[in-house]
């Protein structure tokens, strides 16, 4: 093992070493609460239960469990997706756990602790003629415009459609995932793209309505987003997340939402390649 790779490996390990018991930052300890904000239009990660109007979801459950182990409560707030990163920057939120993808473009001022495997996925209405993802070349594909998916679609189209002489995918913007599914139902778009973690829930809600095409066409991770200088908070949260993975409570929460297959073996930092 070369000296360099040894140092890098050691450094990575150190970054996640649970050996040193990291402490909760003073301000949070004093407040006795974590301030978290979510974009609650993203079932099953975070959404309002239509029956009870309560804030529920995989991220909510994970965060609640982490907070319980930290001995603090959570003050929840909601915000549009595009406001998540600014909320972190302005310290309105202590960290972001809201179905946000770990991307290098976002790592300028933040670090991600990856906790869920994900990737953009094509899906269509069940009766649609498309059989494989290649049938989508030249078709209208929609996604939420405030996410990173428009860029992913463009990249996929260039690599898979245009490179093979086929017409490019036509991207159609939507305001949020509900708006996108709405457009799909109305026939304004032929296919839609959402994070693979949202599709089991959507299919369960409207049984038989949607059909997934292929696999997630770009693999990545959802990450808990921390400010770059907030190392203490990041380390203590990572410790507890690792513990949850070890004792099975993490898997239990994922299974509750049908996302057991998206589990990660351990929390990783900035591991996504996009």
């Amino acid at each position: 093992m070369t000296r360099l790779s040894f140092s890098v490996g050691f450094a990575a390990l150190l970054a996640l070493a649970p050996a040193q018991a990291a402490e909760l930052p003073e301000s949070i300890k004093q407040a006795g609460a974590l301030r978290l904000t979510v974009n609650s239009t993203y079932a099953p990660m975070e959404y309002r239960d239509p029956a009870t109007n309560q804030l529920v979801g995989l991220d909510i459950d994970l965060a609640n469990e982490i907070a319980k182990r930290l001995g603090v409560k959570i003050i929840w707030s909601e915000t549009p997706f595009a406001e998540l990163i600014p909320s972190l920057q302005t310290k309105r939120a202590d960290f972001i756990i809201s179905g946000i993808s770990d991307r290098s473009s976002r790592r300028e001022t933040a670090d991600f602790i990856d906790y869920l495997a994900t990737g953009p996925q094509f899906f269509v209405l069940t009766e649609n003629a498309a059989k494989t993802v290649m049938d989508l070349c030249g078709k209208k594909v929609g996604t939420t415009r405030s996410t990173s998916f428009p860029i992913e679609i463009e990249k996929w189209s260039k690599q898979n459609c245009e490179a093979g002489g086929k017409p490019a995918v036509q991207y159609v913007p939507g305001e949020n995932s509900i708006d996108v599914r709405n457009q799909l139902k109305q026939g304004r778009i032929d296919a839609a793209v959402q994070g693979s973690e949202t599709l089991p829930y959507a299919q369960q809600q409207e049984a038989g309505k949607y059909r997934v095409l292929g696999e997630p066409f770009s693999s990545g991770y959802q990450g808990i987003m921390f400010r770059k200088d907030d190392t203490a908070l990041r380390e203590v949260v990572t410790q507890h997340l690792a513990a949850m993975i070890a004792d099975g409570s993490y898997k239990a929460i994922l299974d509750k939402y049908g996302l057991g297959a998206n589990a990660v073996a351990q929390p990783m930092m900035n591991a996504a390649t996009q």
Binding site: A82, R145, T147, E175, Q183
Partner: protein, 285 residues
């Protein structure tokens, strides 16, 4: 001849004295205080976490300029639609026919009684109610193909505006002296001809200043069409900050452009007001 009346004595003659200039010291103090506050705000903005270099960079970005053009195009077209509808509905409202009055009143109630953003969303999602639209036997099309963001925005903004404009027009028409309508009737004009040639032209004088104001409001209302994907200024600014996370900087860019447009339109609107609201002694063609 009577002598000039004598004045009662005791009052000093101050006709030679001049009035001293007032010090207005309180005004100076208030002005100074306001300047200090404004300077502090300005300094806070300058030193705040705004990356002004991004504001400068995107101020004339292609997407932004296209957004402004789309904003103005939509504002003009939607306002035109709103005025046409407003005139028609106002005439219906003042009709002797109770069916027409009820329809007009219903239209005004419906489109003033619901938020504009809700109306835009309904128009855009019309296909959920009517997947196909058309005239039976003549033409039909998929609603999603017809209700493009452009058309949805135009109908949403224009029909909503019509409800407000119709009230302005109605007030304008009622403000025309009743004798005008009688004189028109006396020379044999029917109701519609009298409205068209005699009442409406006179109502316009009263109506154009508030309509100018409504137009300025319309320019800003077009920003609501961003949620139905019409590529106006705000929508395009949002797309930029969705990609580069520079939320405040891009909102400032959009805000500056809206301010610029409104700052140009406002003195024009005042000129319009002065020209049309001149007293009845100065009616020019």
């Amino acid at each position: 001849m009577r002598a000039a009346p004598t004045l009662a004595g005791g009052f000093p003659d101050i006709s030679e004295l001049t009035v001293a200039r007032q010090a207005h010291w309180r005004r100076w103090l208030t002005a100074a205080a306001i300047i200090v506050v404004l300077a502090a705000i300005g300094r806070a903005f300058a030193n705040g976490q705004i990356e002004w270099v991004y504001v400068g960079r995107f101020l004339t970005a292609t997407a932004i300029l296209e957004g402004i053009v789309n904003t103005m195009v939509m504002a003009v077209l939607a306002m035109a639609l709103g005025i046409v509808l407003g005139v028609v509905v106002a005439i219906m409202r003042l009709s002797p026919n109770p069916v027409l009055t009820s329809v007009a009143a219903g239209y005004t109630w419906l489109f003033r009684g619901t938020p504009l953003i809700l109306q835009l969303l309904l128009w855009f999602n019309l296909a959920l109610v009517f997947p196909t639209i058309g005239i039976p036997g003549l033409w039909s099309a998929r609603a999603v193909d017809v209700m493009t963001p452009f058309l949805s925005a135009l109908l949403g903004l224009g029909i909503n505006q019509g409800a407000y404009t119709s009230e302005v027009m109605r007030a304008g028409m009622l403000s025309v002296d009743a004798g005008q309508y009688e004189a028109a009737q006396a020379i044999g004009m029917g109701r519609l001809r009298a409205l068209r040639r005699i009442i409406l032209p006179q109502a316009m004088r009263v109506v154009i200043p508030p309509l100018g104001n409504e137009f300025i409001g319309m320019v800003k209302a077009t920003s609501l069409a961003s949620v139905i994907q019409y590529p106006e200024l705000l929508h395009n600014a949002e797309n930029i900050y969705y990609a580069n996370s520079r939320v405040i900087e891009l909102l400032i860019v959009a805000g500056l452009w809206y301010l610029l447009v409104v700052s140009i339109l406002t003195p024009l609107q005042m000129l319009l007001e002065r020209r049309f609201a001149r007293g009845s002694l100065q009616i020019a063609r």
